[in-house]
Symmetry: C2
């Protein structure tokens, strides 16, 4: 058995999903993958179920249309879990590391027949996918109804809000990747970043590191609230595991506010 922390995840990846993987015997299906920037994980094809949890780093869920256009549908950061089957029939989708990224992969393909009868597992799986749906809907609205300035502003605010550590925010993406996430193009992103910098909202220390100078002004410019990091799957460092919150390893998401 792998060591489990108090919150029910293993120390390797902090996720609450990997504890369902086989730990002993020849079928141990869990492994750690280290990706360098640009390296990809493709969704496997025939009927396998893999889950990836970001242990550290940042990765993009990327879709390519057949004529080369690209859309990043999600930026996944430390602690978030991606559920395998992401390939559409037609366009290609994969997970791509934006910086050196450590991923805990659990392959449930062989165990699926058993696990789909395990309610605890199904609850975790539901939680994972529900979180992604929420994020997708938020981003949908961003692309449909916010103008380019609002998109970039929201993007920076969310990168700041989901940062691992306090202090200057790490921005492990180039202009083209930001553009592909926001449905814009490189030059537009660059122009808007310059404008936001001149407006005194953000300060760029380097091209990949910035500080939010005026959070109130940022919030005032946005017609939506900035999404915070989802309820922490992680029982990281000091904040030692939310104590005995619920009997199941991952609570079914409910429409409650926990502002």
């Amino acid at each position: 058995m792998a060591k489990l922390d108090e919150a029910g995840g293993c120390f390797a990846c902090g996720s609450k999903i990997c504890r369902f993987s086989r730990q002993n015997g020849s079928h141990s299906k869990r492994r750690t993958i280290n990706l360098r920037r640009g390296e990809r994980l493709e969704a496997c094809r025939d009927g396998c179920i893999k889950l990836w949890t970001i242990v550290s780093g940042t990765a993009a869920i990327t879709t390519n249309l057949r004529d080369g256009r690209r859309q990043i549908s999600g930026i996944e950061r430390t602690g978030s879990t991606i559920c395998g089957p992401m390939a559409h029939e037609d366009s290609t989708t994969w997970l791509e590391a934006l910086e050196p990224t450590e991923i805990c992969e659990t392959d449930f393909s062989e165990d699926m027949a058993m696990l789909q009868n395990d309610p605890a597992f199904m609850q975790v799986l539901f939680g994972v996918i529900h979180e992604r749906l929420e994020a997708a809907n938020r981003h949908l609205t961003t692309l449909g109804r916010l103008d380019s300035t609002e998109r970039v502003t929201l993007f920076l605010a969310e990168m700041a809000a989901t940062a691992d550590k306090p202090g200057p925010v790490n921005l492990p993406m180039n202009r083209e990747e930001i553009a592909d996430y926001l449905g814009l193009n490189t030059e537009t992103v660059s122009r808007i970043l310059s404008r936001l910098r001149k407006a005194g909202l953000f300060k760029f220390l380097t091209r990949t590191e910035f500080v939010v100078l005026d959070p109130e002004a940022v919030a005032r410019r946005l017609p939506v609230r900035v999404a915070r990091r989802p309820r922490t799957l992680f029982a990281t460092d000091d904040t030692s595991a939310d104590p005995g919150s619920c009997p199941v390893p991952y609570p079914l998401p409910q429409p409650s506010e926990q502002t």
Copy 2:
């Protein structure tokens, strides 16, 4: 007990979810709701879990930003099931009927403690939410990377592909609703519809009924494949229930093609 059809759904709504609702005793939590155009179902607030299955008609999942901008994140048609907790902290989201719509509501709030230990139920729940995530990601790419002509073309093609019955396609939305779905504005939608009509791709019988004249040309103009109706939850009319496909009521979606 309610009558079950061969596929495991009840006759009332055809969904495979409602069979988990209590059928007898005082707690029967299933009801049929008839909405007229414009009427809404709000996601309930405090910790309740409701699922809505569209028995007939069309409804839109609609989000309002605080400054009045509106985004329709999904068009839900006969057979699709919506999972309750859709409200963000900030903006308001609801389900709105676009035409007279019959909805089968199942409220699992009281049964949740029990049902979340029922793997069959969790599998269905997973299936429901997974289907919505797929749709959300497709639409995300549409909004991020397709131009207005492509969006409208794709929209019409998908309305045709998901229509209940063959023959002229029913389009139960006005121009503003189409615009809110596609991230455009009313006039743009109208202009593009005119252009597509003149190009001989579609023919409008009335303002809310059209025919796809040239499906090949439509497909050629699009950089993505047109999404078809998801694997039929329904064992409707003649096609009597896909025979013994899998032992569980709803198969776990797998990254398999079934073109």
